[in-house]
Point group: C2
Chain length 520, copies 2
Amino acid sequence: MAQHAGTIAAAMPAGRSGGREGRRAERSGPRPVARAPWIRRGIPPYDILSEDNLCRIEAAADRILWETGIEFRDDPPALEHWRRAGAVVDGVRVRFPPGLLREILSSAPAEFVQHARNPANSVRIGGDNVVFAPAYGSPFVMDLDRGRRFGTLEDFRNFVRLAQSYPWFHHSGGTICEPTDIPVNKRHLDMVLAHLTLSDRPFLGSVTAESRAEDSIEMARIVFGHDFVEANCVIMGNVNVNSPLVWDGTLTRSLRAYARANQGVIVVPFILGGAMGPVTTAGAIAQSLAETMAGCALAQLERPGAPVVFGNFLSSMALRSGAPTFGTPEPAVGSLVVGQLCRRLRLPLRCSGNFTTSKLPDAQAMTEGTMSMLAAIHCGANYILHAAGFLDGLLSMSYEKFVLDADLCGALHAYLAGVTVDDSHLAVEAFAEVGPGNHFFGCSHTLAHYQSAFWDSETADNDPFEKWEAGGALDAARRAHAIWKRRLRDFEPPPIDAGLSEALADFVARRKASMEDMWY
Amino acid sequence: MAQHAGTIAAAMPAGRSGGREGRRAERSGPRPVARAPWIRRGIPPYDILSEDNLCRIEAAADRILWETGIEFRDDPPALEHWRRAGAVVDGVRVRFPPGLLREILSSAPAEFVQHARNPANSVRIGGDNVVFAPAYGSPFVMDLDRGRRFGTLEDFRNFVRLAQSYPWFHHSGGTICEPTDIPVNKRHLDMVLAHLTLSDRPFLGSVTAESRAEDSIEMARIVFGHDFVEANCVIMGNVNVNSPLVWDGTLTRSLRAYARANQGVIVVPFILGGAMGPVTTAGAIAQSLAETMAGCALAQLERPGAPVVFGNFLSSMALRSGAPTFGTPEPAVGSLVVGQLCRRLRLPLRCSGNFTTSKLPDAQAMTEGTMSMLAAIHCGANYILHAAGFLDGLLSMSYEKFVLDADLCGALHAYLAGVTVDDSHLAVEAFAEVGPGNHFFGCSHTLAHYQSAFWDSETADNDPFEKWEAGGALDAARRAHAIWKRRLRDFEPPPIDAGLSEALADFVARRKASMEDMWY
């Protein structure tokens, strides 16, 4: 009878993480929540463009691919793939006959499972499924006490712990912040180790060099076994296009390493309108479509059937200064179009996140972040990277914003569930019971639905003004500050087999010993 | 060729207000904007429920109306209307045979114009049109310097001035804050006078007593002339249901006064789920539909064809304390359903606004406010009251939040414009011109579109961290503080004929002299 009522995917059997969350909830107030390995959406995506206009954008992408083409630099095997597939290769420039990429992409799965170390945390990516992951790639971290500073490995670990402490993330993410105290060529080992030991959720490996991609995959093999990895996605790499219209060999070699191992690749152009692409949204979307299709298709040429995710990252600029801007309206509404185009390709979508250029976890941060995050929700994104922590145009991970964003992710679980329409929720009998002018507080319908009725925020203050004032008149950022400190203090890592833990540490030590330190 | 590209409705001819905005823009940085009397949406509303489920909600509303009914207290003429229309009247309880209200509502216009004192500012309400108005009804005001205090007439005037100073509001609103220094029975005169002299946009009159509604309409007649008012909507009243299922005579008499004068009525149930309605969203929506249809139909019985607006105000509660909450996910997604139901009635919609329970213009305020405001945008609301200033569950108007919200209203102009798809915006030639790996900064396509490409925020800081730090490291609320002070300092009232101004002042003086002061 009920329709469009989303379900939070099967609650985890009484695992330690879920149990711990339940216990914390009792202590600090909020009702216990069912742990959600991922969300299955109960509301449809938001389609804003007509079929006609979608076809126009696709035709523009096809013309860009054929008339201008894309350069694949420093990766001869990629050029060889394109030659064999029927593209026109001229030096490093590749031109794609219309239809070629769509044909190649037909081998890519519309949905796939990324397995987690804890099988209860495996996620399904694509279709009606939504997966939240922390932000990715900041050199700095910030908190209200210590201000801005370069990220360290301990900061990185803290963010893995924080994410793991919430039921609202389904994925541990990747380079949550740069651990700048570790040599550039060894960071990936420590990051993957942290994801595999401090979290038991799926995660992203390194893409900054083919060898680092392979190290990441090798560590996953230690955990999952060689044969399982050969047949299943257990790790993904997030690779960026050098927009406009350039694929750098460092990235395509990493992309091919993941695909070769049958692991997931997220392909993401980063288009700052007016700089790396046209200043008009439709043009930036056409470009993004061209670049992403080419990247996803290259993964299919490397290994047909390897999981790929159609990624997108539109942004805008401040017209007075040329500075990049994030969380602005044009990319938000543009994301809705990207979602429509991606569904026509039948590929899983990564889009948007909680973007902002604010330097503090303030009103600007959450205006921009909420607009941007809702665009991800509405456009039908299946994998939402940057769902928490993003500050200052991704230059900083903020501890407090992480907490505020995590809370928004929780709220979006309720939002994505949609509106349940059945006799019990329509409550017609309750009106007869209560009658005009009387309140619903104690009526049987309220008692029956009370526990599950409304999202219960961890960070919002809903108290009367006087009580809030008596409690110190804290703003949301200050409350978030106390929350992340408590969450880190209370953190217990998920259980891991001692032998496995040792094998991973041993691999990391061995690989580190085999290389000189590189600092840039 | 272009489709779904929204247009900001015809720019105002070089009126003083528009010109002033243009000049201010040059001084303080942002590019001049076309003054928008209202927005015509370039993106469709977001439909989330199936036809089946919409029919189920409508059937539930019909059952509530027939089985439980609605009480119309202290308004015998309203009961007489219902009796004559074919409803079953038992004491003050009215039961409505299924289909009766829909039939009565067929005389209500799907769209109408509310005329402004400055004809260039008249707005169209209904259809694809969107009108923003400030928040309504707070007893307190707040700013960062002086904290919270009771609102005064000077505060009220300040908010009228602030709204008028922005191109992003299309309507001056109503009781923006309570002028608590003025007797309860005389406030409406000062408020209407302020709307008619400090603003030249459309506005709302009083509804707190039939005589105050009539005073408000009479003041409008002084400005527009009796005959014009008889034939056109120049003022509206926003009337609340005493949910659940009670219409108070004070409000229905005001409602009938507006309708009788052929003026607009906005009919709004305020349903705090679990208190004034069921704790389940579908039930609250069914109730809201029943209550709103009854109110709008009563206006039609008073005068068929009088403009009515289908209003909605869903909210939730904190399950641990029973405190009301605003800007939460369930009402946001519920609003999308309300929009679908309203379109099936072919009535203009008022829904949502920038809601929050936060006590400060902080991260909580704008997370909740942005989610709530986007719900208004997505659900297809035509008249968005509470678009700026709402704080602490509507107990306070905040000067700083007003500025932040106004800026969001500006951003939503860009959002609602949607994505323009035509050859010029698709920019295919620009790719050939720029080529792979090069930037778009100086290319001819960028130069051609640069000026109009992106929304230019007044409050966001997009500068590099170091520049922001050198500028005082202000958060958004502090920046907003400086902005409202500057806007009030620079304010010049729109021109008004001296005779008109005198006639209004004279009416106010006469009416005030005719009554004893009432303070509660």
